[in-house]
Assembly symmetry: C2
Homo-oligomer: 339 residues x 2
């Protein structure tokens, strides 16, 4: 057992896509554990698109990471020292460890995991991304049998959960993903009825024509992970009474797209004419339903009714590279770092 903690700090605020130089590696002695707290040796770290937003110094739903502060994020690990009731050495736990080899956390902010499924599932299919898809679809998507769902970033951990749950609810499901391999995966692994490679279409108009073919009855739920060209393509295909849960906009985290003209009036007109229901969602508002999610979805994962994939980068030192690659769509499944 090492006695050194290594953490990844925000060295400077990125413009657009982060660069390796935006991160710094800092080492220190293992911290002391005070009463009520637990020392965790992190074994798996989650990388998620929302972290890009935390690197900016703008008001958002959660505070920015300070310069020099540890990059935030969820981790899984083993308890190596505990001064909290109910936690003992060797326990498998998850919590907001940050990008670090070790973390001291209050016991109240940790959740114990059992060992029946791989520990990393607590970061993906049974963690925040899976829960995001589950709760957003229930609360704002309101799936109906016979209707059509379109989801971007469809092979990601949120999109693949949304697609599989919508399919199970009897919907036609259309995946949008980057590249032929992800499209194959969407259909073969996640059971989408159709998959569209957005990279094959130069502009929103061409993408829209492909979507119209894959969704001949129009679109009832557009699950928004992406923004940009896909949003512009799908809006005119929305049916009256359509729902748009707005969960992310990865296309706009690192820059803009489009020809620069104002697309707001056309969107707004569609919202009115089609009586769309557009709801921004942040998973942290919904934690109250997390236990319901875990008990409903854990057996579906164990029975393989819900498939999932993980991309695992090895070693904390590779976290920045894996993160940058993920923001460019370089991952296939849920991006994990194994320490």
């Amino acid at each position: 057992m090492t006695d050194t903690l290594t953490r990844i700090a925000l060295a400077r605020r990125p413009k657009g896509l982060p660069e390796p130089e935006d991160f710094s590696f800092e080492t220190s002695a293992l911290p002391e554990v005070s009463v009520g707290n637990v020392l965790v040796a992190v074994t798996h770290l989650s990388l998620d698109p929302y972290m890009r937003g935390r690197m900016d110094d703008v008001k958002s739903y959660a505070p920015s990471v300070e310069i020099g502060g540890t990059m935030t994020g969820q981790g899984v690990g083993r308890v190596i020292a505990s001064k909290a009731e109910g936690f003992t050495e060797g326990d498998l736990v998850t919590g907001m460890t940050g990008w670090t080899s070790h973390a001291v956390l209050p016991a109240t902010e940790l959740r114990k995991l059992d060992d029946s499924l791989p520990p990393s599932t607590a970061l993906g299919v049974l963690g925040m991304p899976g829960f995001t898809g589950w709760v957003g679809l229930k609360e704002f998507g309101r799936p109906k049998a016979g209707q059509t769902l379109v989801v971007g970033a469809a092979t990601g951990p949120v999109g693949s959960m949304v697609g599989q749950l919508a399919k199970a609810a009897g919907m036609r499901t259309v995946a949008v993903a980057g590249g032929p391999e992800k499209c194959k995966l969407a259909v073969e692994t996640y059971g989408f009825d159709a998959a569209i490679d957005h990279r094959a279409y130069a502009d929103a108009g061409a993408l829209r024509a492909a979507l119209a073919e894959a969704a001949p009855d129009g679109v009832d739920i557009y699950w928004e992970n992406v923004g940009g060209k896909l949003l512009e393509a799908v809006i005119p295909l929305m049916n009256v009474g359509g729902r748009i849960p707005v969960c992310g906009m990865i296309a706009w985290y690192t820059g803009l797209d489009g020809d620069g003209s104002d697309r707001l009036p056309a969107l707004w007109r569609s919202v009115l004419v089609k009586r769309l229901s557009v709801n921004g969602m942040i998973v942290f508002d919904h934690w109250g339903r997390f236990p319901e999610f875990v008990s409903e979805v854990t057996p579906m994962v164990a029975n393989k009714h819900i498939a999932y994939l993980e991309d695992v980068a090895k070693g904390l030192e590779n976290a920045p590279k894996a993160f940058i690659s993920m923001l460019q769509g370089g991952n296939t499944g849920k991006q994990i770092v194994a320490l």
Copy 2:
């Protein structure tokens, strides 16, 4: 009693703001009344912003007016001939007469009015505009005491209903209107807590500063009648959990505003970060609640707990001019044509 029907037809499709030459006056003999129908002599005609949309040849929630077809609209009148059970000469009725001196309508599409309130109230405060405000606020605005509402076109028949109902629900109410007289009216007649003259501010930024002062705790409901500069101004002021019923966008019916840059990414980001609930609404989806509205709001109007104002143009020949003026904000209250 005349034996000639005069109607106003769509002569050509306007570009932007309609012109008098876009309308034509057509006369014909009074039509025969067949079984199940009623002949109505129109006494009051409603002019509403949505009619501008019907003049365009684009897919919308309702069919376009054909070239040569009668301009659509709601009217009030007296029955002058009836071949339908339950309707007799002299009855006061309302229905979708169109812009015309006389109309034959199926009895099933007419509603009888009593004579206790002025007949024109059935077109405004107790008609479609009043109902729009009432049902949209209940379904999508969800007023809460202590929160803040902003409404544009605040002295119009929808905006003034929304403001008065929100105030009655304990909200702080902020009116946005065009010109100092309408602002005075908003505060003195409709009881808004503050009123802002959008014409006094050159751009969205300046308008936003004035709004921020009038809504120091942020905005919880933005009732969207307007679009354009006001939408751009208000979005950054929205509180987490804010609601935006999208009811109209008069600023965009006849052209665009802004500096031409793409305002969609900023809107979409706010929807996500503030978890906004944006719902397009078309009053025709909600007719099932119309009787509830009439029974709830009629006494409030009779008791003068709900104020209303009407602008009355005299004579069918003045309908186009009054309509064009209304689209430019030239009216103060609900625009009526008295025949």
